[in-house]
Amino acid sequence: MLSEYFSAVDFLVLKPVILLTLFGVGVMLTDLLLEERHRYLSAVTALVGLGFAGVQMWMIQSQMRQAEVNELEAFRGAVRLDHFGIFFFWIFLISSAIAILLAIRYLEIEQEHHGEYYALILFATVGMILLAIGTDLITLFVSLELMVISVYILTGFLRRDRRSNEAALKYLLLGAFSTGILAYGMSLLYGLSNSTNLEEIAFAISQRPAGDPVVLLAVITVATGLFFKVGAVPFHQWLPDAYEGAPTSITAFMSVGPKAAAFAFLLRMFMLPLGPAREQWLPLLIGVAVATMTLGNLAAVSQSNVKRLLAYSAISHVGYILLGLVSGNDTGLKGIAIYLLVYAFMNMGAFAVVVAMRRRDLIGDEIDDMAGLMYKSPTAAVLMMIFLLSLAGIPPTAGFLGKYFIFLSLIESQHFTLAVIAVLYVAVALYYYFRIVAVMFMREPVDWELPTLAPGIRIALGVTAAMTLIIGLYPEPFIQIVSRTVLP
């Protein structure tokens, strides 16, 4: 089995990914044998698969610690398992697990409970992991496609819902278009360096004269593709529609897992191959980051649908995370990592409450549907408030920590104006998050139908709320983990 083509290290690095793929296929096979009312067992199988992958990664980490190696390179430089990739691996695992937990009752209510949902989430996870550890243009491109194709299908999973169909079609068409632009940029990078390896491309670009127009063209095309995938302005149009139309559990998943993977890809591209061209992309990045924060925050104010509001707030968070890359120093990169970690918990928590609002006869994603939640389910209302406070960045919740590092890095790198703008937008964000809080606490409930707090949703809410508070109150160990995560 082992040969010139396939070494022991290749196998070791790939083990978690192989496990996830096998479980994905297994879920589809066993799902055929299950009766309708036992479909939740497919979710359990998928969770076991994620657990196995997690244990495997834990073992790889301890082996790496014992051998005192910081990174494993496999498949002749196609992937590199380093602390950066491992950190993202855990974010993906958490987001996939929560997306599975949220879906069990939700899909039953929507009468679309099929095992393919769980299999597709596992395959998307495979794509995300390879995207975070890939160091070769071809590997990155293929794993990006694996991730986004799975998500396109999951977006349109509610086949009888017009909004879901429309969202999936829009997402697919715009996504394919942006992938085309990204592929064109990648072909320019290959043309400049005659290599698909990120480090060799970085070397070739550093040899080019400063202000080289071909490098600029490559930067613009690659950046356009990447900005589309993370949903930065002006390439954000697909995002509110896709988030609103997708099944809510998938909206939660999309806003965390695939987004973190797109950011891992973006960071690798901007730091490695495009790193030497920093002067060329910095003004572009500052403009995009400010526009993203502005549009995200201002458009969120006028939304009446909770999913749409959270979609625009997700756009504004992309702006904050990009600011960490603008400062580009250690604090900024640490800030991006911790922001993405914290964001995973608080955003999935907020969407978990929205999932619970979906009942037999009520779609429940308008802000008015939240009216009087305090009287119907005090737990859900208080947890939602914690998540919204954290999203706004108010201490002692975890969201504060992410924003703190980003602002600190801006001040350290002398970007004072940007820091002031970013802080001002927190006030705007507080306004629209508190619109939801006000409706939940101040308004009388319209009906007395209780939110569906199924076991899966309870576990998801418990974990996300606990982590949002723990990271906020006792951040030391998490800051240490992030500091070890040497970014590329």
Partner: protein, 177 residues
């Protein structure tokens, strides 16, 4: 001679591509697409990439086109209906595209040395070379592509499945007994 052939095939590719967009009937557009693919394949062949040229013909002009034509026939698609396009696209679309293409062309034209020309056999483009690379340097992406294809198949099944399971033909037969 070489340059002349290049301009013939490049011009044909662009011409077919424009025709593809202008034709109103889907079958005519599909036929223009074959023209684009064939012209591109000739260009690849002139660069010495015989494997890519053959793959282009077999995969695109062959398999994918058959699929397109089947879909057009199954859907019985007639002449397309023109919708009211946005003003922005109507008046600014073409000039902006031309601006983008000319600026890109200018950048690349200025950077590439004028007298250098790629000829047949300049690249290690033989099928054997591609095979070795595919299974050595690009083994991982090659394997991942198989999962991508699996996901695509699952996607079509998921999005095209029957509405409820009781309506399926198998179930109907059981209930008749």
């Amino acid at each position: 001679m070489y340059q002349l052939l290049f301009f013939v095939f490049a011009g044909a590719a662009v011409g077919f591509a424009i025709n593809l967009l202008l034709q109103r009937h889907p079958i005519h557009s599909a036929l223009s697409l074959i023209g684009v693919m064939a012209s591109l394949a000739s260009l690849y062949l002139m660069l010495g990439a015989e494997f890519i040229a053959a793959a282009q013909i077999i995969v695109y002009a062959g398999a994918i086109m058959v699929l397109f034509v089947f879909v057009i026939m199954l859907l019985n698609a007639g002449e397309e209906e023109r919708t009211q396009r946005s003003r922005f696209a109507k008046y600014l679309g073409l000039p902006l595209i031309l601006l983008l293409v000319t600026s890109m062309a200018a950048v690349i034209y200025r950077q590439v040395p004028q007298d250098a020309m790629v000829r047949f056999g300049d690249f290690p483009g033989r099928t054997a070379d591609i095979g070795r690379r595919l299974f050595l340097n690009y083994l991982l992406p090659f394997e991942v592509v198989s999962i991508v294809i699996l996901v695509a198949i699952i996607g079509t099944v998921v999005l095209a499945r029957k509405d409820s399971e009781t309506e399926g033909p198998g179930k109907a037969v059981v209930s008749e007994k």
